[in-house]
Amino acid sequence: MVDYEVMVGNKACAVACKLARVNVAAAFPITPQTSITEYLSELYASGEMPGFEFVNCEGELPAQVIVNNAALVGARAFTCTAGPGLQYMHHPMASTAGGRCPLVMAVVHRGIKSMQPDHSDLMSQQWTGWIHLYVENAQEILDTIIMGYKIGEDARVRLPVAVGYDGYVLSYTAEPVEIPPQEMVDKFLPPYKPPRSLIYDDPEASIGRGGGFRSGDPNYAWMMHNEGALNAEEVIKEVFAEWAKLTGRKYGTGMVEEYKTEGADVVITAMGTVAGSAAAAIDKLWKDGKKVGLVKIRSFLPFPRADFQRIAKNVQAIGVFDRSLQPGMGGPSYREIKNTLYDSNVHPVVAGFVGGLSGKEVTVKNFVDLGEKTLEYAKAKKADAHPIWV
């Protein structure tokens, strides 16, 4: 029996935790993530989740350490945060990924210079070694949190997964969400069984403490970590295909979701909620006879290299929209796409747009302009200097 409910993004996130049978959740409230912690508290109070521990802890950094250790013990763990909270969490995030602890964290985007959303919070965590997924709507939050466990826990990956979604416009916006049946999720996502856990039923077994000064090649752990992150692409595609079969909900390849790219002269890209407005702009552009497609980047880390090398073959220009900017360096997805195409034998014009920073609204009109500009750049075979402000 399929159940529907009109709910806000943060509730969809909490419902996903319940469906994934999370054992330990730890979080510190921060706007616009706060209501996830309230929903988790409600779930705990309801007694509907046996074997669930919810820790109201004293900050984001402790929250990350708590879920890290819970995962080391063998529990399925969850945490959630936003903007500055994510930055406070930075230090132990590297331990969680370095310790190869697959857990899921919801990052409810809040800019690092403002209360309002942009992607600068999660973008600034690239070096911690997590898998980064970006989602567009409440349904996608629910689906991706559940799938996040399956991706992260896969033996080929064994990495924590961050699911990013924009604050306010998604976290506090209510829309109908389909709640998959528990039995179906249970079948899709079996209980977490780590290959190594701190529970040793042999009391003589001893594992060393963390930290360096060990023999062997110090690069080795990094090599393995890198391999896990790259393997995630294959696993993401498999898991999304399986979920699509079960639910009928398809999110492109899982790495990217294309919209009207077939027969398009140029494509534009977007991540997160703004991809919805971008899609509306695409409809308008086609109606006016302008062949502009949309590529929604769902996985930023690992980056959909193969997808972009394929897409680049059929278009004259790519208009990249970034909702974050590293001052002096540029927009992250713009840089990644250019980097990716260097290894390809086709080199369409790549234009780097930046906008929506610190919660600045990005409208359908903005994307229409962006599409038209990209068409102009294709004709001129040259784009304006990056960043092109939106």
Partner: protein, 275 residues
């Protein structure tokens, strides 16, 4: 470029010695670089440090892998082939030892000289801290570093009266160092006992850390287990006849057992360096 490797023990001043050599070379108009072994230093644990000397600014930033000189500050470690390994052909090993150079069990395409730095240090400093005591001998073997330069450098690290004492020790070792001999055995023995150094976690064997070791007088021992319970390493085994026995691989020679024994049945005896 001249590359030097120093072997010592945490607390003996090998790292300071490496800096004194580097400063001395600079006093003599050369460029230099003193590198401690990266990581943690534990009192008593064997360690290494390195020095490079050149007439241009040293740009290499790696450990010294094939030294021209190997200097050993510790009498016990001087008996270990480790100090003579991976030298440049014809490299020079300067060992702190009472023995003649031909009596040291060191092999390879190397030359060996000895100086009784411990004896010199006890005479001039009153303590067996051998770092400055061996540096005078080193100047004699290494033409690029002068005794005058070393003296100047020593005063930089130990001003005043302490400097005078250390300089006296360096001068004595300059006088007393033996002539260089060529090692008889060119091939090092296959089984080389590794020197266990510091770090984290459990170690296999720390017998090399010991300079003094407990000798138990079973006649005097009253079987009270005081020594046993206070040993930080569990290095005293409680035997069936109700007496303690040292576990050689685990004792670091701290002397807590002897200090705590209520009947003074334990004596800390200096470990004899055997040929």
């Amino acid at each position: 470029m001249i590359e030097i490797r120093l072997h010592g023990r945490g607390g003996q001043g090998a790292v300071t010695a490496s800096r004194i050599i580097a400063a001395a070379a600079f006093e003599d108009g050369l460029y230099s670089q003193a590198i401690p072994m990266y990581g943690t230093e534990r009192r008593g644990a064997p360690l290494t440090a390195y020095v490079r000397i050149d007439n241009v600014r040293v740009r290499e930033r790696e450990l010294v892998h094939t030294p021209d000189y190997s200097i050993c500050f510790d009498e016990f470690i001087s008996m270990n082939q480790t100090i003579a390994n991976s030298m440049k052909p014809g490299g020079i090993v300067l060992a702190n030892s009472k023995f003649k150079p031909e009596e040291l069990p060191l092999a390879g395409d190397i030359k060996i000289a000895c100086v009784d730095a411990t004896g010199i240090a006890i005479k001039h400093l009153g303590r067996p801290i051998t770092n400055t005591a061996i540096l005078g001998a080193f100047c004699k073997l290494c033409p690029e570093v002068s005794l005058k330069g070393v003296e100047k450098a020593i005063y930089k690290y130990f001003p005043g009266r302490v400097g005078d004492m250390n300089v006296a020790a360096a001068r004595a070792s300059y006088e007393q160092v033996t002539d260089l001999i060529t090692a008889k055995n060119k091939e090092p023995p296959k089984q080389v006992e590794e020197i266990v150094s510091g770090g984290y976690g459990a170690l296999k064997d720390v017998s090399g850390w010991r300079v003094f070791e407990p000798v138990i007088d079973e006649e005097k021992c009253i079987g009270c287990k005081t020594c046993w319970i206070y040993c930080p390493e569990a290095a005293l085994e409680w035997t069936a006849n109700n007496k303690p026995a040292m576990i050689s691989r685990a004792c670091k020679g701290c002397g807590v057992c002897a200090n705590e024994c209520p009947v003074k049945a334990i004596e800390m005896v200096r470990v004899q360096v055997k040929k």
